[in-house]
Point group: C2
Chain length 247, copies 2
């Protein structure tokens, strides 16, 4: 496989940096090839603005974005990420969970790269689209404990917290999303904990091609009506909210 790894952490000696390097070693040992976008090291521009299209600031934003995508006039760093994504069989997205979501620099990677015509305003979505068939996996560290991010935890279940990313963004653009690799109470990972977690990470990377994706329902499954509503009775009994969208 060829893998694109997008990484966001500000601190060079962090647990995340060690996991990034372990990922690199493991993928190489498995015979995979990989590209790395280390967003902090690249000083990735986080803010989507008119400069991305060399457009006048009074241009309608989405219209200018779509036009620049079609004419190849997007900023070079965005085009480079498009090429890396299109060349990859799988995408790894690694970041610490900040305020129950991505750090701004990673959100800005999506805002800018998943632009009009590439990421949205496409003919197909939710299980189809420009990135159809590619695999994706989040690698997330949380300061919060596993309990507070469990089903009854005060922070909310991690799967639901990640739904906007896993379902609304990665699956939306056609990717098959594997269950996330998560490390909780990341501040408390000591040396034995680190050995245990890196072993668990290696196992996830070894099974990257074989792991069943989260069974999100595709838009073309026939489960949704023309307005995008799940048809009555299509849900698994007792499910509500986000959970209705997994088959």
């Amino acid at each position: 496989m060829h893998i694109h790894h997008v990484y966001a952490h500000p601190h060079a000696d962090s647990l995340n940096a060690a996991l990034r390097d372990e990922t690199d070693r493991t993928l190489t040992a498995l015979g995979h090839t990989r590209t790395l976008s280390d967003l902090y090291a690249m000083r990735w521009k986080a803010v989507a603005d008119h400069d991305d299209f060399a457009a006048e600031p009074d241009r309608h934003f989405m219209t200018a974005a779509g036009e620049a995508y079609r004419t190849g006039a997007l900023a070079a760093d965005i085009r480079a990420e498009h090429e890396r994504l299109l060349a990859a069989d799988a995408l790894l997205l690694q970041f610490p969970l900040w305020w129950f979501s991505m750090p701004a620099i990673m959100k800005g990677w999506f805002d800018r790269v998943f632009t009009n015509g590439f990421g949205y305003n496409t003919a197909e979505h939710y299980g189809a689209g420009v990135l159809a068939g590619k695999r994706a996996m989040l690698m997330v560290t949380t300061g919060a404990t596993a309990e507070t991010l469990s089903g009854r935890g005060i922070g909310g279940p991690l799967d639901d917290l990640l739904f906007p990313i896993q379902h609304g963004t990665l699956f939306y653009t056609g990717m098959r999303v594997l269950p996330p690799f998560a490390i909780h109470s990341a501040w408390a990972v000591d040396s034995p904990g680190f050995a245990r977690e890196t072993k668990r990470l290696r196992e996830r990377l070894e099974t990257l091609a074989a792991t069943d994706p989260i069974p999100f329902r595709t838009e073309s499954s026939g489960d949704y009506d023309a307005a995008g509503l799940l048809k009555p009775g299509a849900e698994r009994p007792g499910t509500t909210g986000f959970a209705m969208h997994t088959a």
Copy 2:
């Protein structure tokens, strides 16, 4: 009331810009005072990094952040937002929903302003904390239709999509969060639609002090055990996931 309005949209002639100005006029007419942080206009720095603390890049990130907060050494733009927040009775956060979340520049406002010691690592949270008692309301425009963001919609219910912000961030730091003001299919708002939406916005601003907040359960309510798990049977019958955390 004194209101702090944080605003993020890249396009000066947008629907959001018109709503921002309408907000300004309405608050003034109501006799409120207000401050505005127009993040794009301010060229707000979105990325939280060591420069925010004038720290060496090899310092542990959270530790350096907390130390800078305690010693008053945070970047001037962060300290200015702290002052504006602490001076306010209510916070308005206005942005277009991008990838089911905030634009990176707004996420970066939280990442940098809600720093260690101010926003987290505090003695109290979830209904208590440095911003306790202040009101907060999101003002959100979505490209998606109301149907796709409703209970059975393919995008997921808007309330759940906003949970990481409304519960995990605003309520976490002590604020009382009002139901969001949302405009769906924002690209299709024509002139009569605009008149209707601005009237609806004015009504929400007129009732800012009186509107019941979302009844999130406080951490001190007795509904959670010491590990942060909702006690068995505490939920409203039939609720799961995020919905369990409203009383």
